[in-house]
Structures are given as structure tokens and as C-alpha cells.
């Protein structure tokens, strides 16, 4: 494990593996460097890239700050890229994709960007997040409330994903909590990431880097629709969507950058 320091002094932990062009992995909300798909991706991608798998603030060995702003996370990513060598490709998944889009709009050091299932809600195939959700989570966390099995996200009612998905998410959170000394994964951070009603306007829509937009073919319709909308908005060079059982990738559409 290595560390760097973000602009506000927060320590950011990261691992590197492999050789070749630099590729930074940006995890989703429920992930750490050790928990989630980043670890497996890093292992596979290390044959082709110098892979930098870092811990977003509030997770694992990285530090945190009391106040959250997405700009601080952009600075974290900038610090990682600067430490790694000054420029890099970036791959972001889930809320990490949203962060990566914001970062790519501001950081010319990001020379290529791939995003997987940024959880924007673009139509009525999924109910929007309840307006009071963020406030409720923030309030419960402030009161020291936690989710099942010690997970840092408290129950606030029935989420749109249904109880099965909610429990799966909480199980991941509990696992993450058990493996780290840091107090909590700050899921509250991501409630503030803009998703609606116009997620692709500036700055997200002004990303200069070359993009790939990816999604799972078996993912929910609202997610696939969001990625298609994103691909239609950005100067995306490559769009791919798979079914879970396929081992090859079929580009659903492709447009020149």
C-alpha cells in the first residue's frame, strides 16, 4: 500500500500493479480497494496497464474529512494521478463513474475514460430516490445509527431496489466495516452526487477525454437506459453492453469521437 495526500490534506491510499500505460480504477460507493470488483479488475488489467487502485475518501485506509464535496474527491483523484506520473486513463464504476465523469471534465490529466453503469435516473423505468432520503441518512448517521450487522448505512425504509438488493448492499457494507478500522463508509457522500434531472449537462457533458460507456446486458432497464443516454450525450467512441452469460462483448453502438 502507498499513500498520497489530497489538496485538503486527506490521506489517500492506493495500490499499484503491472506495467504499461497508467489506469486508475475508481470504485463505487460500497467498495474499498479490497472489497468489490476493483481487486479482480486490477489483477486482470495488470497484464496490460500500470493499474492504480485507490481508496476513495471515507473508505479502507484512506482518510476522510467532516464536510463532503465532490470537488474534494476530484482533488483526491488528481492527487493519485499526479503521484502516479501526471496523466492516466480512468475507469469508474457506479458512483465512481459519476465521479470519474466530473473529474474528466476538470482534469486534462485524464486522457481516456471508461465508465460502467453510472447510476443516473433518466426516465420512469425506476422511481426516483425519495427527496428526503439523503437527509434521513445524514440524520441517522449523526445519531450514531447503523444498518444491519453493523453496516454504516441505516435502514430508512424500502429502497427502490427491493429488500433483496438492500440486504445484499448492507451485507457488503458490513463486510467492509469489519475489515477496516475507519469508522464508516460515508455513503452519505454519494447522496449528494447529482443524478437528476439533467445529469449530462455541464460539467459532465463537457468531458474532453475519449470515452467508453459500458453496462451489463442483464442490468435493470433504468441502468441500461441511463448508459445509452450518456453515450448519446458524450462524444463517446465506444459503447458496449453485455448479458451476464456472454464471454464476448458486442458493441451496441459506436460513434466516432
Amino acid at each position: 500500500m502507498k499513500t498520497t495526500r489530497s489538496s485538503d490534506g486527506t490521506t489517500i491510499a492506493y495500490d499499484t500493479a503491472g506495467s504499461g500505460p497508467r489506469l486508475v480504477l475508481v470504485d463505487g460507493a460500497l467498495c474499498t480497494r479490497r472489497i468489490g470488483p476493483g481487486k479482480g479488475l486490477a489483477r486482470l488489467l495488470a497484464e496490460h496497464f500500470t493499474v492504480i487502485n485507490y481508496g476513495r475518501r471515507g473508505r479502507g485506509d484512506s482518510g476522510d474529512a467532516v464536510e463532503y464535496a465532490i470537488e474534494r474527491e476530484v482533488e483526491d483523484l488528481e492527487a493519485v494521478i499526479e503521484t502516479a506520473g501526471g496523466n492516466a486513463f480512468v475507469f469508474g464504476q457506479s458512483s465512481g463513474a459519476v465521479l470519474a465523469l466530473h473529474a474528466a471534465a476538470r482534469l486534462p490529466q485524464i486522457t481516456g475514460l471508461a465508465v460502467y453503469e453510472a447510476p443516473f435516473i433518466v426516465d420512469d423505468t425506476r422511481a426516483p430516490t425519495r427527496p428526503e432520503y439523503h437527509e434521513k441518512v445524514t440524520e441517522l448517521l449523526a445519531r450514531g445509527k447503523r444498518g444491519p450487522r453493523g453496516a454504516p448505512v441505516p435502514r430508512t425504509g424500502r429502497p427502490a431496489g427491493g429488500p433483496r438488493r438492500r440486504d445484499a448492499a448492507h451485507a457488503v457494507m458490513a463486510k467492509a466495516q469489519g475489515r477496516r478500522a475507519h469508522p464508516a463508509i460515508r455513503l452519505t457522500h454519494h447522496r449528494r452526487t447529482p443524478t437528476r434531472p439533467a445529469p449530462f449537462t455541464r460539467p459532465v457533458g463537457s468531458c474532453p477525454a475519449t470515452h467508453a460507456v459500458l453496462c451489463g446486458g442483464d442490468s435493470d432497464a433504468w441502468m441500461r437506459n441511463a448508459m445509452q443516454a450518456l453515450a448519446d450525450t458524450l462524444p463517446t467512441r465506444h459503447t458496449a453492453c453485455w448479458t451476464a452469460r456472454r464471454t464476448t462483448c458486442d458493441p451496441r453502438s459506436s460513434r466516432p469521437s
Binding site: 479482480g40 489483477r43 486482470l44 496490460h48 475507469f91 457506479s94 486522457t111 427502490a160 438488493r165 451489463g216
Partner: protein
């Protein structure tokens, strides 16, 4: 967002796709070669 949702990101499927995409993206400061191996302008 992220209201308890999960994703179906399978590294063994996504990793080759990332390799396929990024191999054609120029790296600043390095001579770039197109997918067919020919030198390409940055």
C-alpha cells in the same frame, strides 16, 4: 441514487473490453500505434 442497488460487473468480461478500448487511446508522450500496429498520429 444507489438506493441499495447492486451492479453486475464481472471483471473477466469487463477487463478485456477495457483493454480493447484503451489500447487505441493515445498515451501522451508515447509513440502511439493503431490497433493494427501501424504508427498513428496523436
Amino acid at each position: 441514487m444507489l438506493d441499495g442497488q447492486t451492479h453486475n460487473l464481472r471483471p473477466k468480461i469487463v477487463a478485456p473490453e477495457l483493454v480493447r478500448f484503451f489500447r487505441d487511446v493515445p498515451v501522451p508522450g508515447k509513440a502511439h500505434r493503431a490497433a493494427d500496429g501501424r504508427p498513428a498520429a496523436i
